[in-house]
Amino acid sequence: MRRSIKKVAAGLLATMMIGTMLTGCGGGNKKDSASSKKETSEINIGFSQVGAESDWRVANTKSMKSALTAKNGFKLSFADAQQKQENQTKAVREFITQGVDVIAIAPVTETGWETVLKEAKKADIPVITVDRQIKTSDDSLITAWVGSDFKKEGVKAAEWLIKEKGKEKGDVNIAVLQGTIGSSAEIGRTKGFKEGIKDQKNFKIIASQTGEFTQAKGQEVMESFLKQNKDIDVVVAQNDNMAFGAIDALKAAGKTPGKDVTIISFDAIKAALKKVQSGEINAEFECNPLHGPRVAELAKKIMKGEKVDKIQYVDEQVFTKDNTTKEVINKRAY
């Protein structure tokens, strides 16, 4: 028994030695590879994505992947964080040690980035955030942000609802399916909507809970809303997947979504636009996920040393039954 332990220990030692030898070799080559990288104009970009929790997100990933191709002069390292911030900090940290040229982050949460972004700054790597924003004490940690004006989306939704229901007598009971708490989309849309309906005395938010941007959770939360409150007039789902869940829950409860209950949703993915056309969703507030081309353009400019605007909003629309034609739906790529 004892002898076998010694054998294992010897083997272990040998492996460790080989390990250090290899480390040594790798270290020596480093400078060569650095200089060869500079000659080719290929841009190494690391992209840390939230996950694949919704169709919107999948479209966003697709857009990024199709814009940051070798053909366009990029070498993309893609990391899916599975909706966990700790995975994201790990991935970003690896990008930094890999020494990528640009880091793009679609952050899971707005905060908790100080430490790792400081590491990026120290390594002289510019950071572009995509979709959700990051709060930092030091502005210089982030070079640019590409995304939607979530608060404006919320305000627009409120304006639309006031136009639709503002003149009704009696209370308008609103239930809100919030997104992942702490995400920019949730914060912006909640804030924008609340501010938008502030002066509308008969609008009452009677229930508000997170459905974590997923269909299953959206349905579950909607079911519990329906158990607690019989008369919900409006459902505001902060993304389409939760709206789908809510529609299923309403149908199961014997209500007609779009008629008995007004449904407002955000994102405007293809499947949701179909529901706008069929009348199950009353209004869709677009959140454009096609950030890839803008990020590619930004990365190239940054690498050339050009100055870029810190905030880059993408264009967005409102869809109701009136302007949602077959053509619009067919043109939708996601």
């Binding site: 492996t15 460790m16 650095a34 993309l76 990391a79 599975q82 020494g99």
Partner: protein, 348 residues
């Protein structure tokens, strides 16, 4: 005396499992170095990042090891980490308490949490799974109760702790962009390594450590040996509660914020790390060094997948699953061999 011999045997058996884990870690590291050597995989910082990114996991896995050795389990630690982060953020940002007081209070909270769970397990003989399932729900619920919104920590003392780096100034390397870098670690790594070292000594060389193994190996025999299994178990859960809150502190040094969803499922990672490190879920066998390497193996798989760049990061889970399978089979083979040997010994 027979009992002492038995324990010794077990330790020896575990030595082999531990060696397999350590070898596997270095095999993975070398594989990564060969595959991605041209992309800085071999830079010292990549190695140190394993510790930086997994400091919380290492601490939690060490605590878990103690619990698993007694034959128990604790599935509440992910939630405890979550609530610790939230409490830290809330105390410092909403209640404007000093960082030091907040940190001490969460550590005390961890101890009390462990004390309650330990009491229920040891004295009321409730299944540890059920007790800690309750603990898990309680702590997660408490997190949401404190604040359903995310709280970001801006306390200067805490941030300076979080950003405090210990540089290895004597090593210099260049990243792909030609910037000179010195490898560094954070405070959380120091805490994690201290926890490993101290726990190693406790488990290996103290009376308490031997009692932990004895209770996990065979509670009846432990009782006959004059040990008090109840007290030992209680102590283990208290220690684990403390380590879970310490892991939460290390985790928070990395995330600098409190958030309802934080560290969800973390307990499973800690269990996986301990099992890969050679700890038996049936109790009586395990080492903290094994759990350290178990955590690092999870880290290195993640690192390799990030360097690969195109693989879905869900592959981490799949590889971990395969490794778990491998180690569980290895353990059961090992156990049956040992039992045979013991039986032969008894016949003589």
């Amino acid at each position: 005396m027979a009992m002492v011999e038995k324990i010794k045997n077990k330790l020896r058996g575990n030595g082999f499992l531990l060696a397999v884990t350590i070898v596997l870690f270095f095999v993975l590291y070398i594989a990564g170095a060969i595959l991605y050597g041209d992309r800085n995989f071999t830079s010292p910082q990549v190695f140190l990042n394993l510790f930086i990114s997994n400091a919380g996991l290492i601490i939690a896995a060490v605590g878990m090891t103690f619990v698993l050795i007694t034959g128990g389990i604790d599935i509440s630690i992910g939630s405890v980490i979550g609530v610790v982060c939230m409490m830290l953020a809330w105390m410092m940002e909403v209640k404007h308490m000093s960082a030091v007081v907040a940190i001490i209070l969460v550590l005390v909270f961890g101890v009390i949490f462990g004390l309650v769970q330990g009491f229920l397990v040891a004295y009321l003989k409730i299944q540890p799974f059920i007790v800690t399932l309750g603990g898990m729900f309680f702590a997660r619920g408490l997190t949401a109760l404190i604040s359903s919104d995310m709280i970001s920590i801006e306390n200067p003392t805490f941030l300076s702790l979080a950003n405090y780096r210990i540089y290895f100034g004597f090593i210099t390397y260049y990243n792909n962009r030609g910037v000179a870098m010195h490898p560094y670690i954070y405070l959380s790594v120091v805490i994690a390594l201290l926890v490993v070292a101290i726990s190693f000594v406790i488990l290996r060389y103290t009376k308490f450590g031997r009692a932990v193994f004895a209770v996990g190996g065979n509670e009846q025999s432990a009782l006959l040996m004059g040990l008090n299994p109840k007290v030992t178990k209680l102590k283990v859960y208290v220690l684990n509660g403390f380590l879970a809150s310490l892991a939460g502190f290390a985790f928070c040094l990395n995330s600098c914020g409190g958030f309802v969803e934080q560290a969800r499922g973390f307990e499973m990672d800690a269990i996986a790390a301990a099992v890969i490190g050679g700890t038996l879920l049936t109790g009586g066998v395990g080492t903290v060094v094994g759990s350290l390497f178990g955590s690092l193996i999870k880290g290195i798989i993640e690192t390799i997948i990030t360097f690969q760049g195109t693989l879905s990061s869900w592959w981490t889970r799949i590889v971990i699953a395969l490794l778990l399978c491998f180690f569980v089979i290895l353990q059961s083979v090992f156990k049956s061999i040992r039992e045979k040997r013991l039986a032969q010994g008894n016949e003589k």
